[in-house]
């Protein structure tokens, strides 16, 4: 849990009119041994999560949450697909193939 890898810091904008800087980060969440590598993740609006399949078979990451609706389709080992979260809220992320695989992303 504490080993949250946010491996890149892509954008970091400062704005004179905004007191804090807007830093969009990229987080990586793996699918490994039929589970997400993190059960819960807290991010900020504008951040991106990269979902990487680390298993030798297919997963299908998706969410039907109001805060973010997406379906990444299925893809094999080694491939990652990204989702940028543009609205605050709780996002329940699931795998369509394996219903036991769930995690929550809190977008602040």
């Amino acid at each position: 849990m504490k080993s949250l890898k946010f491996f890149t810091l892509i954008v970091c904008l400062s704005s004179v009119s905004v007191t804090t800087s807007l830093c969009a980060e990229v987080f990586e969440v793996g699918q490994k041994n039929k589970a997400f590598t993190q059960k819960a993740l807290v991010i900020k609006v504008g951040d991106t999560v990269s979902f990487k399949n680390e298993d030798a078979f297919f997963h299908n990451v998706f969410s039907l949450s109001d805060a973010k609706l997406f379906d990444l389709g299925s893809y094999p080992q080694g491939v990652a697909r990204d989702v940028t979260f543009d609205a605050p809220g709780e996002v329940e992320v699931e795998c369509a193939v394996h219903p036991d695989m769930t995690m929550t992303i809190t977008v602040q």
Partner: protein, 359 residues
């Protein structure tokens, strides 16, 4: 008349009434990584993740007792739980037929043909998700579904409660099993679920081989197991994974029926994700020799037919699972896998039919 004994096969009736099943409990966990490191020697440490726990877990508010299991068994075998008082759970989930019905798809009220094959009850207690489309999680949630479904047992819950509450035998049985709890439909479901969790298969030749009995499987069956888990050969355990030979996941297998007009969309009706169109839950392979015909539509009569389907890689490719690929198996290798599947059968046990309270 009430002590009709049926010689039933293949599962260990665990719990209080039944046969004693040994072996320590092992947690259920994802096993694909472990599969890659297996040593194919009887009793080897790398195989132990294929063993099931002694008993399935029960919900906190429905821990099994002898009284609960006995009551559940009565309810399971009682045809008066159906609208016409002529169908019990066991009508379709017949213990003599692998806790199924040996039909391609089930027959419900007035013998109406149902859309999907009757799933076996065997080892469903180990699964965190129930039904071909996964619309129920626990056996408690599942149990009332077929009882109330119009096309199935077609029972009105008010009528059911009326019957149970005016039957002194059942009143007593409920009081013994769930003291102080009002008789509700949920309680009926709890009792049935308690019984279903005793329908277990974990004492097969394969299990004994995993436990160290090198004679439990022959050389062909060991070869079959190796092919079963090899991603470049049978590729079976990608979905039929340890320990219950299911990933509790959903896959479109490219069956011919998905190519028909208005096909059964399966899991898609629960999770409207494209990949789930025509996807159904992976069934266990334990006791597979007793649960023909196969697939959710009952379209394969034999294990040979199942193997042929997988060797081709499915016939309707529209939305076929990417985990499915055409297999390069020789006839001998296919026969080896089938020989292995035969090792997933457990020895015969006797199940005694319960006495049902008439009044």
């Amino acid at each position: 008349m009430n002590d009709i004994k049926k010689t039933l096969s293949g599962w260990c009736v665990a719990g209080f009434a039944g046969i004693y099943c040994m072996m320590s409990a092992l947690p259920l966990f994802a096993s694909t990584v472990l599969d890659g490191q297996m040593v194919f020697k009887a009793g080897h440490a790398s195989l132990q993740h294929w063993l099931l726990p002694v008993t399935p877990e029960s919900p906190d508010d429905n821990q099994p007792t002898a009284a609960r299991i006995a009551l559940g068994k009565q309810l399971f075998f009682d045809p008066r739980l159906s609208g016409d008082s002529n169908m019990s759970c066991a009508s379709c989930h017949h213990p003599s037929l692998g806790w199924g019905d040996a039909l391609p798809t089930g027959r419900g009220a007035k013998s109406e043909m149902l859309a999907r094959a009757t799933p076996t009850v065997i080892n469903t207690g180990y699964n965190p998700i129930q039904m071909w489309d996964g619309r129920k999680k626990t056996l408690e949630e599942q149990a009332l579904g077929p009882i109330t479904a119009k096309q199935e047992m077609n029972m009105d819950l008010t009528v059911l409660l009326d019957f149970l509450k005016t039957n002194t035998g059942y009143q007593q049985a409920f009081a013994d099993a769930y003291a102080g709890q009002p008789l509700t439909p949920e309680l009926v479901a709890k009792a049935i679920a308690s019984y279903e969790r005793t329908v277990i298969s974990r004492n097969s030749d394969f299990d004994r081989w995993v436990q160290g009995d090198s004679k439990a499987m022959n050389a062909q069956q060991v070869r079959g197991f190796k092919l079963f888990v090899d991603p470049n050969k049978g590729n079976c355990s990608v979905c039929h994974s340890a320990p219950n030979f299911t990933d509790n996941g959903f896959h479109n297998l490219g069956l011919a029926s998905f190519g028909e007009e208005n096909p059964d969309l399966g899991r898609y009706s629960e999770k409207p994700i494209r990949m789930m169109k025509g996807a159904f839950k992976t069934p266990t392979l334990r006791e597979i020799t007793r649960t023909a015909p196969y697939f959710h539509d009952g379209s394969a009569k034999t294990l040979d037919a199942v193997m042929t389907h997988y060797i081709v890689g499915g016939v309707v490719k529209t939305n076929v699972s990417p985990n499915l690929k055409a297999l390069t198996l020789t006839a001998q290798e296919s026969a080896d896998i089938i020989a292995f599947l035969q090792a997933l059968e457990s020895p015969f046990v006797e199940v005694t039919l319960p006495q049902l309270p008439l009044h």
